[in-house]
């Protein structure tokens, strides 16, 4: 089995990791960096629970080859720690946006990127923007409210630091 060496920055820490060529970014993160907050719900690119940020944009880590991440900056749920992430988590908790927690990492990462866009969004727009993420527990009402509230909060402070 051929291998490749990947230089990738994960949550601010630069790493050099040798993996089998067929390794996905999700497996690299989970098995090699031991960041198990990124979950695998389908490995078919549909459920969104494996979503991470790659150079600032959400990607499905189950369908992303680790080899294609050479030189990239990857942020996982464990690496979200600014004021937007804090507000998002707060609203997730008070709005009932999580139950089992399995989809939650992907929802947070997707929601975080939305909130960072600083664009006004109504309920339908938030729902559409989250349409690539499946939650089997909550029925989405709480998730949509939480993301919308965090977005409104972000718009109010408009501080992207």
């Amino acid at each position: 089995m051929s291998t490749v060496t990947v230089k990738v920055n994960v949550n601010g820490t630069p790493r050099t990791i040798e993996v089998e060529s067929r390794t996905s970014l999700a497996d690299l993160l989970r098995d090699r960096v031991r960041l198990t907050g990124t979950h695998l719900g389908c490995e078919q690119g549909v459920c969104g629970s494996c979503t991470v940020l790659m150079d600032g944009l959400p990607v499905r880590s189950c369908l992303t080859l680790a080899a294609s991440c050479d030189g990239a900056e990857v942020v996982t749920v464990e690496g979200l720690d600014d004021a937007d992430a804090h507000r998002l988590r707060q609203h997730f908790s008070t709005e009932g946006a999580l139950q089992c927690g399995f989809c939650t990492s992907g929802m947070l990462v997707t929601g975080y990127e939305l909130v960072r866009r600083r664009t006004e969004m109504d309920r339908d727009q938030v729902a559409c923007a989250l349409a690539g993420n499946i939650c089997r527990c909550t029925g989405y009402n709480g998730i949509i409210r939480a993301v919308q509230k965090a977005n409104d909060d972000g718009m109010a402070v408009d501080d992207l630091t």
Binding site: V46, G96, C100, V126, R136, Y140, N141, G142
Partner: protein, 789 residues
């Protein structure tokens, strides 16, 4: 048994964010796949690709370390197959093989397994195993399973029938003779996958130092799994420990005992390293227990003034290839027969059930179990009767429901409906939805337009938290019905609660903390709740049948009350007052003249027990709860859906959805609403989207999320919810279960709404999911019938 909640700030009734959230919001949950197991070998199963066939040979590749591949022959000496039995007369048992032998009976049935350092390598290895199967014609569709020439799933059986039951109460024929209107309808609820987002997952390791086999499984029933593994591996229970860590949902898919669990546990005893299997999504779609696949023929009779005089039900369930333990293949049919009378005052009822075997994956529990089917059958029928009689469907419901003055009421199926106001839930639902306004808008739609509006209702009773006798009445060999809890107060004055129940995502760490808070007036977040570990917790059956809050909550309250009594006795001794003058306030024991904090009290008692010589040792209590009424506590609800239907495409848009429900005392509104919304979302999946399609050869055609459609954020509207909160007279705090109700009514409510939208054409929506194609077909059929007439 009934205890009034004392309305503590943080106790029963408080809307509190969940204690579980913190770890999940930081990606720190620990699921089976996340466990760090040094030296672990990952397992890949090789599964049958044909639905029905003779297994002629399974050949291992040459030159490969033999111990990395296991066939049925290798496994047989170490593990027995599980045979689910039933006490129903005539029930035919079908042993569930751990790895197939002789025959394969569904696509996805495990045949062999391989293990390696990574799952990818294990799959490479499994692909080298040669399996020779002679394919046979398959028994697939519910309509054909009892045909005389149908292939037989089990060669030694004369047909494909697991069991048949029937029953009669009253006299349906007399009812039929008196009736002003009688209708007959056929309904079908197609097969579904359960789809917890975390698939099944098992790991096992034999710790030789302490002679303990540890099995980690994403299971709703850790104690039941421990017991059954001990039997099947033929080892003593004391050597077995089952741990269910964080779980990504279960909804019934994870409360049967599975061959993969048995195989991994057995193999772990034979090897020197841990083994682990994480189900992939394809496996989850073909090999995890599935749900529904019901067919009904209902004949119902009503009087001119809209009274339901009698119901006849013929119920058929395609239960798949095997019976799973402990539920058996008859679970759906027998439960459906008992639930068809629903919330109604029905005096004449006759039913027959057939539980049928097929070359599909075994049927198991899924949120609501048979109730979505039973609800669909009776509620679609009520609507059509109302239409025949020129009544509003909601009005027909109100006229026939059990009224509050009759409570507690024993139903025709001998279930005790404990409390509540069923007709009021219907009336409130019409107000919640603004019924008259929708009727007005409906009437305003131009006849020439191509979009129609419809409003539909569905009511049900939800049996929750039932006891041993109820399970026995359904033929279960293992009669579930008691839950244990142990509460420990440590020397720092902090509580740890150990419960036999398993929380698989529903927030029991929070709600059980609230129960403890209710007794001791402490911050619920300061209670550590330990669940899902058979070595630590008192026995419990697990989380299913909407039983967890009522039963584990009842057990926790029982343990807390016993411990409270002891703590007060200690307080009395230390404060030199009478215990009856003391109470709990804000983490302290207080009396008229002074008080003592729980931490001070605990230290005194535990470090210097000689200071309190009159109280027996130990600051803990264990309590086992069982329901006072064996048929459980009955939650009930009325759901309502508003839809817009496109006549040209058959597409259904859900415009609004509302729920009026009564699950008794609500322990935490945030969590209960979450259960309802989540349940409704799943029910909307059943109603509109989800279908496991099998072709005539028994090949599953919808095995990924690309072709098995789940409700997403756009498909679920913001729900309207109203609670009625009539406490049950039979449970602690008056709680009733709330786990499943949300999922029961949506198929019926949506089908009624779509049928309502299409009344002018006479198109009836009698099959789920209500896809655009089915709506369009129903319109064509109605059109043909009109033309023929």
């Amino acid at each position: 048994m009934r205890q009034e909640p004392r309305l503590r700030r943080n106790g029963v009734g408080a809307r509190r964010p969940r204690h579980e959230d913190e770890r999940h919001l930081h990606g720190r949950g620990k699921f089976v796949a996340d466990l760090d197991l040094p030296g672990v070998q990952e397992v890949a199963f090789l599964r049958s690709q044909v639905a029905h066939g003779r297994l002629l040979a399974v050949t291992k590749p040459e030159g490969i370390d033999e111990s990395r591949i296991w066939t049925a022959e290798d496994l047989a000496p170490f593990a027995l197959p599980l045979t689910a039995t039933s006490t129903l007369p005539g029930f035919r048992a079908a042993p569930l093989p751990n790895l197939a032998e002789g025959k394969v009976r569904y696509v996805g049935e495990p045949v062999a397994l391989a293990m390696a350092g990574s799952r990818a390598e294990a799959e490479d290895l499994a692909a080298l195993i040669d399996v020779d199967i002679e394919a046979l014609p398959a028994a697939v569709h519910i309509e054909n399973l009892t045909d005389p020439d149908s292939p037989r799933v089990h060669d030694e059986w004369p047909d494909n029938i697991f069991a048949t039951t029937q029953g009669t109460v009253g006299d349906v024929d007399v009812a039929a003779a008196e009736a002003a209107v009688s209708i007959t309808r056929e309904y079908k609820l197609n097969r579904q996958a359960v789809v917890p987002l975390e698939t099944r997952a098992v790991a096992a390791h034999y710790d030789r130092n302490i002679d303990q086999l540890v099995v980690w499984s994403s299971t709703q029933t850790p104690h039941m799994l421990r017991d059954m593994l001990a039997e099947l591996l033929n080892i003593e229970g004391r050597r077995l420990r089952v741990i269910a860590p964080d779980m990504g949902g279960g909804f019934g898919a994870k409360c049967s005992i599975y061959p993969e669990e048995v195989a991994l546990a057995a193999i772990a005893l034979q090897v020197t390293h841990p083994v682990r299997w994480i189900e992939d999504r394809w496996e989850a779609m073909v090999a995890t227990t599935q749900a529904r696949d019901h067919a009904y023929r209902i004949t119902a009779h009503a009087s001119a003034d809209g009274r339901l005089l009698g119901v006849e039900a013929d119920i058929r369930v395609n239960a798949g290839a095997y019976s799973v333990h402990p539920w058996t293949a008859t679970m759906d049919a027998s439960m459906s027969a008992a639930m068809i009378p629903g919330p109604y005052l029905l005096e004449n009822y006759r039913f027959t059930t057939h539980s049928l075997a097929s070359n599909k994956a075994p049927l198991g529990p899924y949120r609501g179990v048979a109730r979505p089917g039973a609800c669909f059958a009776i509620e679609r029928t009520i609507d059509d009767l109302a239409h025949e009689l020129g009544l509003e469907p909601w009005e027909m419901r109100v006229r026939n429901m059990v009224t509050p003055d009759l409570m507690p009421f024993t139903s025709i199926a001998r279930k005790v409906y404990d409390s509540g106001n069923y007709p009021e839930a219907v009336r409130r639902a019409t107000q919640l939805m603004d019924h008259d306004e929708w009727r007005r808008r409906q009437a305003d739609r131009p006849v020439s337009g191509r979009r129609r509006l419809g409003i539909g209702y569905a009511s049900f009773t939800e049996q929750t938290a039932h006891g041993c006798i109820e399970w026995a009445s359904r033929g279960l060999a293992i009669t579930i019905g008691k839950e244990g809890a142990r509460l420990v107060l440590d020397s720092t004055g902090a509580f740890t609660l150990y419960v036999g129940i398993k929380s698989h995502g529903q927030g029991l760490e929070t709600t059980l903390g609230q129960v403890i808070s209710e007794v001791f007036d402490i911050d619920p977040a300061s209670v550590t709740v330990i669940h899902g570990d058979t070595a630590l917790t008192p026995r419990g059956d697990g989380t299913f049948a909407s039983r967890s809050m009522v039963m584990a909550g009842g057990a926790s309250f029982g343990a807390a009350s016993q411990l409270a009594e002891k703590v007060l006795a200690i307080g009395a001794d230390l404060l030199k007052v009478d215990a009856s003058t003391l109470s709990f306030t804000d983490g302290k024991v207080v009396g008229e003249t002074g008080g003592i904090s729980l931490s001070q009290l605990a230290r005194e008692f535990l470090f210097t027990p000689d200071h309190v010589p009159n109280v027996d040792g130990g600051l803990e209590a264990t309590y086992f709860y069982q329901p006072e009424v064996q048929t459980g506590a009955f939650t009930y609800a009325t759901h309502a859906a508003v839809v817009e239907v496109d006549l040209d495409t058959g597409e259904v848009d859900l415009l609004d959805y509302g729920v009026v429900e009564d699950c008794g005392t609500v322990v935490n509104p945030l969590i209960v609403d979450g259960q309802i919304i989540g349940g409704v979302a799943q029910g909307l999946g059943s109603a509109l989207l989800e279908e496991l399609v099998y072709d005539d050869d028994g090949q599953p055609k919808s095995t990924s999320f690309l072709d098995y459609l789940l409700p997403g954020p756009v498909e679920v509207p913001e729900l309207k919810i109203e609670h009625m909160e009539t406490p049950s007279p039979y449970t602690v705090f008056g709680m009733k279960g709330a786990g499943e109700g949300g999922a029961i009514a949506p198929p019926a409510a949506v089908a009624n709404a779509v049928t309502d939208a299409l009344r002018e054409f006479g198109a009836l929506i009698n099959e789920t999911p209500v896809t655009p194609e089915r709506v369009w077909q129903a319109l064509q059929v109605a059109d043909r019938e009109r033309n023929d007439a």
